[in-house]
């Protein structure tokens, strides 16, 4: 809204702008403050990225210098590998569940507890606990829950008098269990975003709608959700990017199994790249993941997070 740049024809020449910047101290500030950030960013972000971009074209086990240049073979293998397809499909399912189950659930809970009351504060804390818990711990806890001999599922089976079942060892059920854990682990994060946004909705607009005869759901739909649309856009963005990177919950739960049915792109990278010492192959997976993430980020920002639509 307060875009201070002048229209192109009024814009001073580059030399003129530099001279102005130098005289008001901005240039020296930039020259002093920029290098540390640039150096750190280059060292820890750009260089590793560039390196793995290079390794992706080598067959390399991580020791010594990569010498065995194989061109696109790593990529060909990856796209031809049935487990990679499973991993991609699973990642897509996680994105879908995050958007279609986790976010609505988070919104529903946020609507129930966004007002500042003592009981709501307690519920907020309870719902937020999974999110602050370490991923590995969460995975372990749930692996106990799903344990067919001693876990909660075992008690359920016993009380229902049915045969014990091993959810995490079942090819059909295991990934559903993983998705349950992911929803459980991260809904609190989205809920907090919505709570903060809902608290910013002016109370009198809600009251005005009540006076006009809007029901609770109509108020949500016509007043509250439109208000928090920017927050929803941001939370969906985090949901997608987060779903692309799911890894640490899965390792203690299923470790990608049974028979690779619960691999995601990142566990696939870990399993077939790192643990098997095929750093070149792992780098290729990493490059693909990075490109997808960047494309998502760019297009998402273009489409959903512009001023006009947000």
């Amino acid at each position: 809204m307060t875009d201070m740049t002048l229209p192109p024809d009024h814009r001073p020449a580059l030399g003129e702008r530099l001279r102005r910047a130098a005289s008001n101290g901005r240039l020296s500030a930039a020259l002093i403050l920029l290098p540390p950030a640039l150096i750190l960013f280059t060292l820890f972000v750009i260089l590793p990225l560039g390196e793995s971009g290079v390794y992706a074209f080598y067959d390399w086990n991580g020791y010594g210098a990569p010498e065995d240049f194989v061109g696109l073979r790593n990529f060909e293998q990856m796209f031809g590998h049935s487990v990679f397809s499973v991993a991609v499909a699973n990642t897509v399912k996680i994105v879908a569940v995050s958007l279609l189950v986790q976010m609505p659930l988070a919104l529903l809970l946020a609507l129930l507890i966004y007002r500042q009351t003592p009981t709501n504060a307690v519920f907020r804390l309870i719902f937020f606990v999974p999110y602050i818990m370490a991923e590995v711990a969460a995975g372990l806890i749930w692996s106990f829950v799903f344990d067919g001999n001693y876990g909660v599922t075992a008690s359920i089976a016993t009380s229902l008098g049915i045969e014990q079942f091993f959810v995490l060892a079942d090819r059909e059920l295991a990934f559903y269990a993983v998705m349950v854990v992911i929803v459980w682990k991260y809904f609190g994060f989205h809920m907090m975003i919505y709570i903060a946004a809902l608290q910013g909705v002016p109370e009198d607009q809600i009251e005005a709608a009540r006076i006009e005869g809007a029901s609770r759901t109509q108020i949500v739909r016509h007043v509250q959700v439109p208000h928090i649309r920017p927050a929803i856009a941001v939370s969906a963005f985090f949901a997608i990017i987060g779903a692309l990177q799911v890894f640490d919950v899965i390792i203690p739960l299923t470790n990608g199994g049974p028979s690779n049915q619960t691999q995601t792109i990142v566990t696939y990278l870990y399993e077939f790249g790192l643990t098997r010492l095929r750093i070149g192959f792992g780098s290729a997976v990493g490059v693909v993941l990075f490109v997808v993430a960047v494309l998502v980020a760019v297009f998402y920002q273009r489409i959903f997070m512009r001023k006009g639509t947000a």
Binding site: P202, D204, Q205, E207, A208, A209, R210, I211, E212, G213, A214, Q218, H222, V223, P226, H227, R229
Partner: protein, 336 residues
């Protein structure tokens, strides 16, 4: 028939009783203004009538119906908020007909009502805009439009003009008065601006700490304030309140003299020194100091020659003085 009756209304928030036992009748088709200092419970009373708050005790009737436990939307009221409470993501037209769409009114009827409201409020050109693209006065009109289309029995206004600048406020005041004449519904209007109260009201209710100090027409309150509180609240500039002792009437606790009831005299009266003189064109307001009595405000003709630091004598017509006892209650003078 949409008289509003509050019977023995009490409202407490937790341990704090904001309104202790208040009864009030707002006559059908009247323009009733609630005035009082900040925090006295005006908004709370309005929100009780609207149904946005529930009374702790007491009954609220609108027309013949007891609406105490009814939902706001079932009470036949509409409310204009101080902040306007427009929906920022909807166009002006959607803001105005939002409630009608919710009730699934036939489109033809809905459009007719929208068009009529837009015409009355001169909003026709702006129907497709968003509230953020309107001026303060236009937003105010949209908020009023949203109230009008619902054909309520009772309109509630909570300080609707307080976010507007002085000129616009005067203009909207006139428009509200016209609106009341044209749609003759009952209107209940909260303000702490006593000029709005005086100019708009048929009936003014002066509130103080959740209680009613006095109810009456504007001129009743002006001519015969029932208490020091009302005397000080109604009228601009404020009434001068002086202790009776200082004016040689020790049996009266407080004597009130309106600034316009003081006039400059050749001799006798009170000897005063002007401190500040304000020229308003039509009037001159002089702030003067009288030894032993204190500071007084005097309203004089516009072309009065007067400047700060001058000495003058002031005469107050005893027949136009207001007398109050030690509790601040009015003492009726025995008129000869």
């Amino acid at each position: 028939m949409a008289e509003v009756r509050l019977e023995n209304i009490t409202k407490a928030f937790g341990h704090v009783t904001v309104i202790p036992d208040l009864s009030l009748t707002v006559p059908d088709k009247s323009f009733t203004v609630l005035v009082g200092p900040s925090g006295c419970g005006k908004s709370t009373l309005l929100r009780l009538i609207a149904g946005l708050e529930q009374p702790t005790h007491g009954t609220i009737r609108i027309g013949d119906a007891d609406v105490t436990r009814d939902e706001p939307s079932k009470r036949g009221i509409s409310m204009v908020f101080q902040s306007y409470a427009l929906y920022p993501h909807m166009s002006v037209a959607r803001n105005i007909d939002f409630g009608l769409r919710l009730t699934k009114m036939p489109a033809a009827e809905r459009e007719a009502r929208l068009a009529e409201a837009a015409r009355v409020l001169a909003l026709e050109e702006y129907l497709d805009r968003k509230p953020s693209e309107l001026s303060g006065g236009q937003r105010q009109r949209v908020a009023i439009g949203r109230s009008i289309v619902r054909n309520p029995k009772v309109f509630l206004f909570d300080e609707p003009l307080s976010n507007l600048d002085a000129a616009l406020r005067t203009q909207m005041r006139v428009e509200l008065a016209e609106l009341h004449q044209s749609i003759d519904s009952t209107m209940i209007y909260v303000t702490h601006d006593q000029v709005e109260a005086m100019t708009l009201a048929d009936q003014i209710v002066v509130m103080n700490r959740g209680r009613i100090e006095q109810i009456g027409s504007p001129m009743d309150l002006y001519d015969t304030p029932a208490s020091v509180f009302v005397a000080a609240f109604i009228g601009s500039p404020k009434m001068n309140l002086v202790s009776g002792r200082a004016l040689g009437r020790p049996e009266i606790a407080t004597i009130g003299i309106r600034p316009e009831d003081l006039e400059v005299a050749e001799s006798g009266g009170l000897e005063a020194t002007t401190r500040v003189v304000e020229r308003l064109g039509s009037d001159t307001i002089a702030y003067v100091r009288v030894d032993e009595v204190g500071d007084l405000t005097v309203r004089l003709p516009g072309h009065m020659r007067l400047s700060g630091g001058e000495r003058l004598r002031l005469h107050a017509d005893p027949a136009r003085q207001h007398h109050f006892d030690a509790d601040g209650r009015r003492i009726e003078r025995v008129t000869a």
